[in-house]
């Protein structure tokens, strides 16, 4: 993925497949801590603990007929390459929160890209879903 906005499209696709109706995207830039944090929070079906543990394995997917699931594993790799990490919290029936952290100044950190445009596209193509985007600078 060339930038974070493309990663967001991939992760949101998981939320949509989990029948989320409210998807929150938060981008927090903290220059003092040299940290960039991306959070994607949905109210979808959530995952069992077993599925959550497998979700970063690129050879694991919940999609029928597919062998490979790359969305989360690509984002995890991007975070790790920029001195960060990816964490997933999920509760069956409640939803999922994906948190990707990056070192803000890391030379290999992917650019943010045009998230506003990404969110506009998502809203236009999924009018039945509520998307919230917030960008914070600490």
């Amino acid at each position: 993925m060339e930038d974070l906005s493309l990663h967001i499209l991939d992760i949101v696709e998981n939320s949509l497949r989990a029948n989320a109706k409210h998807i929150e995207i938060k981008l927090i830039q903290d220059e003092k801590k040299d940290r960039l944090t991306l959070e994607i929070i949905d109210d979808g079906e959530g995952m069992s603990e077993e599925t959550r543990k497998q979700s970063l394995n690129p050879f694991f997917t919940t999609r029928e007929g597919k062998k490979i699931g790359l969305g989360l594993s690509f984002l995890a790799q991007s975070a790790e390459e920029a001195g960060g990490k990816l964490e997933i919290e999920s509760m069956k029936g409640k939803g999922t929160k994906v948190t990707a952290e990056f070192t803000l100044s890391h030379i290999d950190r992917k650019p943010i890209g045009n998230i506003e445009e990404t969110v506009r596209c998502l809203k236009a193509t999924h009018p039945d879903v509520c998307f919230d985007f917030e960008s914070l600078n600490n």
Binding site: E2, L6, P58, F59, K67, I68, L70, S73, F74, Q77
Partner: protein, 111 residues
């Protein structure tokens, strides 16, 4: 050309997939942006990259890549090698740069 011929001519270090070196190489692709490789690499290509993450095996498996050449002396993670073995995807390591590997492949007629 077979992957085992390339391995010999370029003196590549075989880290996984020894049993799959008879694969015919249809051409080459060089790239470190995995989404680009997914979009543009062709079945049977040998892929030249500096990545060592497990994700490269998923990409190679998905695109039916004949083998992966990892450059700049980078050593793949154990998890990557194990999955490469399971998937039958050769992992070949070299101290050469991607540029030099591509030049050598071109000399061998792999385009």
């Amino acid at each position: 050309m077979k992957l085992k011929d390339i391995t010999g001519r370029l003196n590549l270090d075989i880290k996984a997939g020894q049993n799959a070196l008879e694969a015919d190489v249809t051409g080459g692709y060089v790239g470190d942006l995995l989404s680009d490789v997914l979009a543009n690499a062709k079945k049977g290509n040998v892929w030249i990259t500096l990545h060592t993450h497990l994700n490269i095996i998923a990409v190679a498996s998905s695109k039916e890549i004949s083998g992966i050449i990892i450059v700049n002396g980078r050593v793949p993670e154990q998890e990557t090698l194990k999955k490469a073995e399971d998937e039958g995807i050769p992992i070949l390591v070299t101290k050469m740069s991607a540029y030099n590997v591509v030049c050598r492949l071109h000399e061998l007629g792999v385009n």
